[in-house]
């Protein structure tokens, strides 16, 4: 299994959970990882660096011969009014959230070897809620949703499913800059008005990757009733 952005937050939780379940997890992030379990291998890389991504997946292929599951979790956020969003921020969000997901999916599916595979992309409730102040972030995640739906069709002949999960806010660094008031407003728009938990996310990932879910593809599941 490959999990991008695995040093912190949701990615770290997923890495711990799936090593517990018997997967060997290959994770990556720009920083190092403090996760020291036996079945975890960490790569320090920038997920938007095509050569580095290819090199990581070549290592995975040489060690495992194939890849069963890819979780495109790496992401970054920025909250700002559109008028106050610099070009560099727009480009960085698209690169990390969308381009890296495309790159890892393109290279990852090559390792899935035609017989079966699962790709799970992390998107956001910011897309269906059309959150003000998140134009650049939500747009980059909207691109990931479209990518998910088209890859689901392109990879179907390879027996690879591609789905996405859209978490509500989960208490991670990604939302550390969001004010309490704004967060409450967001929660009020959910059917179930509470913060998301790591377990809520891994529960949906569990569902997407189980063998019985081989007829589920191109779907987006949002948490909290959004």
């Amino acid at each position: 299994m490959v999990i991008t952005g695995s040093s912190r937050g949701i990615g770290r939780h997923l890495a711990e959970r799936f090593t517990d379940q018997g997967f060997h997890v290959y994770g990556c992030s720009r920083s190092g990882s403090e996760l020291t379990v036996k079945d975890y291998t960490h790569f320090r890389l920038d997920v938007t660096d095509e050569e580095a991504v290819r090199a990581m997946l070549t290592s995975v292929r040489k060690r495992e011969e194939r890849l069963d599951v890819l979780i495109n979790n790496a992401g970054c956020a920025s909250m700002n009014h559109a008028l106050l969003t610099p070009l560099k921020t727009i480009q960085r969000l698209m690169d990390v959230n969308y381009t890296a997901t495309f790159l890892f999916s393109r290279e990852g599916v090559k390792l899935m070897k035609r017989d079966s595979g699962r790709i799970v992309n992390l998107v956001s409730v910011a897309v269906p809620l059309k959150l003000e102040g998140e134009a650049a972030y939500a747009s980059s995640k909207a691109a990931v949703i479209t990518l998910t739906q088209i890859l689901a069709r392109e990879f179907a002949d390879m027996n690879v499913t591609v789905n996405a999960i859209g978490p509500t806010p989960v208490d991670t660094d990604l939302i550390s800059g969001v004010s309490r008031e704004k967060l409450q407003k967001l929660l009020d728009r959910q059917a179930i008005k509470r913060m998301g938990r790591f377990e809520d996310v891994s529960n949906v990932v569990d569902f997407f990757i189980r063998p019985e879910s081989d007829f589920i593809t191109g779907q987006v599941i949002y948490l909290g009733g959004v």
Binding site: E50, E51, R54, A55, T58, R61, K62, K110, M158
Partner: protein, 102 residues
Amino acid sequence: MIDENVIRDIIFDAVDEINQGLEADERLEKTEEAILYGKGSRIDSLSLVNLIVAVEERLQDKLEVSVNLADERAMSQERSPFKTLGRLKNYTVALIAEILNE
């Protein structure tokens, strides 16, 4: 300069792998004239993708070069490098020569 025969053998080895998953009448012949897509091709687009991936893997494993065969240049060439096995071989040789000269 990379030996063309080495690349041809790598490509033919990749063809063997792809052919294993195909019916007898779909299998690709191991000749440089074998057509990879369009009129006269025996394989579908998915098999072509699989072939390109299998060649890239072998280039990495046997020559330790990381090559993206379906790069911008390949996709924009008037004479597609993916039309026949021979053209694929020539394109691969040229690409590797460039990488080794860098």
